[in-house]
Symmetry: C2
Subunit: 364 residues, 2 copies
């Protein structure tokens, strides 16, 4: 909701109108591997990655999903049904996005199982490693670790690039991995649309992912695809006129808002008796041409006192966070979402300021 004011301000420009007889079929493009992908959305996605420079789309199949969650599951299905013994271990470096664990485990599938922290994974045999960079919850830049740590070469990699956009981080290179996930929720803020996409090198993987989405939901909302195509097109137009009509560059707008929030947050935390925030590295951003800092979508807060439960501490301040424990980390950590509405962010800062000198943590 952080980006809502940008879209509200020029809402008319991004209007879409859908007639009663439009978009009625299950099919979008019977000749495409992903037969339910609207061709206009496919074209918009390719253009967007070209404009931002964050991922290659040449020689890649695009598979659209009901958010990137569905695509993550589609990849698990593709990797594990194309052969080999099961269940396949799924890991990610802690602290990891807690939904990975939930999604892998909730149906008790015999195809795959959650094995937690990639830093602690020592089994032989097939595995799937999810690399989320910048990482939810802690904002760090990530690389795959299992192969380097253990020499186990039987891994399949999923790159979750939900936050690899210029408002969150320096675009330091054009990612060209085999399986990359993106979502419009974090890219433009349109979380309600439930549109994610995968860039996939191998045709058989793209086919199996399409099969997964066919069985689980018989495709993806055409209305959302239609609208996402429009939003992405206008974002591209705005980005290619950098400087001319400043308010129209969405990524600059996003970075400005996040930058202000991080400044307020750091000012609030620097005098805190109880909490720490780590620093992020700077990087040369190929998109903006500037040296920029990571501006994580989340505050990854750490209690100075290792024995304290950070999320409990926040709860005492009426701040809703997520415990580090469910992200595979220590309870001295907690995650707070910074992509909320302005008034919610200000309330968060206000409540956080109440920690100074009040000793609230001792109450827990």
């Amino acid at each position: 909701m952080m980006f809502e004011p940008f879209w509200k301000k020029m809402s008319d420009k991004y209007n879409v109108t859908i007639g009663g007889g439009d978009l009625m079929s299950y099919f979008s493009d019977g000749n495409n591997v992903c037969w339910f992908l609207e061709p206009k959305l496919g074209a918009a996605i390719r253009r967007l990655h070209g404009v931002v420079g964050n991922a290659v789309t040449d020689d890649r199949y695009i598979v659209v999903g009901t958010g990137s969650s569905q695509l993550f599951q589609a990849l698990l299905y593709a990797f594990t049904t194309l052969g080999g013994p099961e269940p396949v271990s799924v890991v990610s470096s802690a602290p990891y996005y807690s939904a990975y664990a939930e999604v892998v485990g909730f149906l008790r599938s015999e195809l795959y199982k959650w094995e937690g922290d990639a830093y602690k994974f020592n089994k032989k045999g097939a595995y799937i490693e999810v690399v989320n960079s910048p990482n939810n919850p802690d904002g760090t830049l990530r690389e795959a670790v299992v192969m380097n740590r253990t020499g186990n070469g039987n891994g399949k990699l999923i790159y979750d690039f939900a936050y690899y956009w210029p408002q969150f981080t320096a675009i330091t290179g054009v990612a060209d991995y085999d399986n990359m996930l993106f979502t419009i929720s974090k890219c433009t803020g349109h979380a309600g649309s439930r549109i994610g996409w995968a860039l996939v090198k191998d045709k058989d993987i793209a086919k199996k992912m399409t099969e997964y989405i066919t069985i689980s939901s018989i495709g993806v909302s055409k209305e959302s695809q239609f609208r996402a195509a429009k939003i992405i097109e206008v974002v591209c137009n705005g980005s290619q006129n950098v400087g001319s009509v400043k308010s129209e560059n969405f990524f600059e707008y996003g970075r400005k808002i996040l930058s202000e929030r991080w400044q307020k947050l750091r000012e609030t935390i620097q005098n805190s008796e109880y909490l720490i925030l780590s620093k992020y590295p700077q990087g040369h951003c190929l998109f903006s041409g500037k040296l920029v800092e990571t501006l994580s979508a989340y505050a990854w807060l750490e209690s100075k006192d290792d024995t304290k439960d950070c999320n409990e501490f926040l709860r005492g301040l009426k701040i809703i966070g997520k415990s580090g424990k469910i992200c595979g980390a220590h309870q001295k950590f907690a995650r707070v979402n910074l992509m909320c509405r302005e008034e919610e962010f200000n309330q968060f800062i206000e409540r956080l300021s109440a920690t100074r000198g009040k000793g609230v943590i001792n109450g827990h």
Copy 2:
């Protein structure tokens, strides 16, 4: 696509326009059990069932899904995670919708397993029976069978009412089961929207279904919900003015088209040397006030010669069908979709007519 001309003709009237800053949040109604259900869609669904008289909505929770496929999976999850030993058997009377088998089996979940035809199910212990009425593929009206056949009272029932709408069948009563599934794909023809809904009596089931959809896709497209609400509202307006502006009653339009198709189909089949079509019963429809016949969305064709594979026979005529085998029935049956575009239907009839006196079936 059969209904497309109706919607194209008055496309403007059913227009929806969505601004760039609309529908951005994951949330629709934080106070509702199904927190991602757009309140307007919920209200439209309740109104629609009231107007048509096909299901009670009082004392029912509405859970929205990415098509009714997702809701079927959500119900399986709800039934099997609320306690009891697993895997739970899932059955449906043959011939059954083949996707039930696919959905239950594709992830090899330890929570449930597909056990096929409800008429052959004799195990003790927990089971889930899906009742699809009118039934895909054969258009018959159905009731649950396991309890009556075996006395096993440990069953949970899912009523899939995708086709319980006035264009397909007489609305003979207000269904008031605990777990009922509907989808806009079949109700109005807007399959591309991927909108289904469940009417659920038990709050804990509705909560667990919401949990399933939260984990698997973090909700359901807001754009599709917004548009579905509009489409349903205008369908209700049209239905409540029966007779005044005749072209505007969608269900009458749908019945007229399907009725013409069935007449052509029966005329073509009655002289066939090779194929049979069974008759459907008539019923008094509480919606139209008339005695009406079932007009199934599918032709369930049967080879006169029991040893012949009906789908192979159709393939010889370049007709794309689905074999009875994958619906748990004999290979002498095959299903052909009648809800296609006009030109495709006419082509189907033309190709089917070629069977008369040509002995094509002997070629197989």
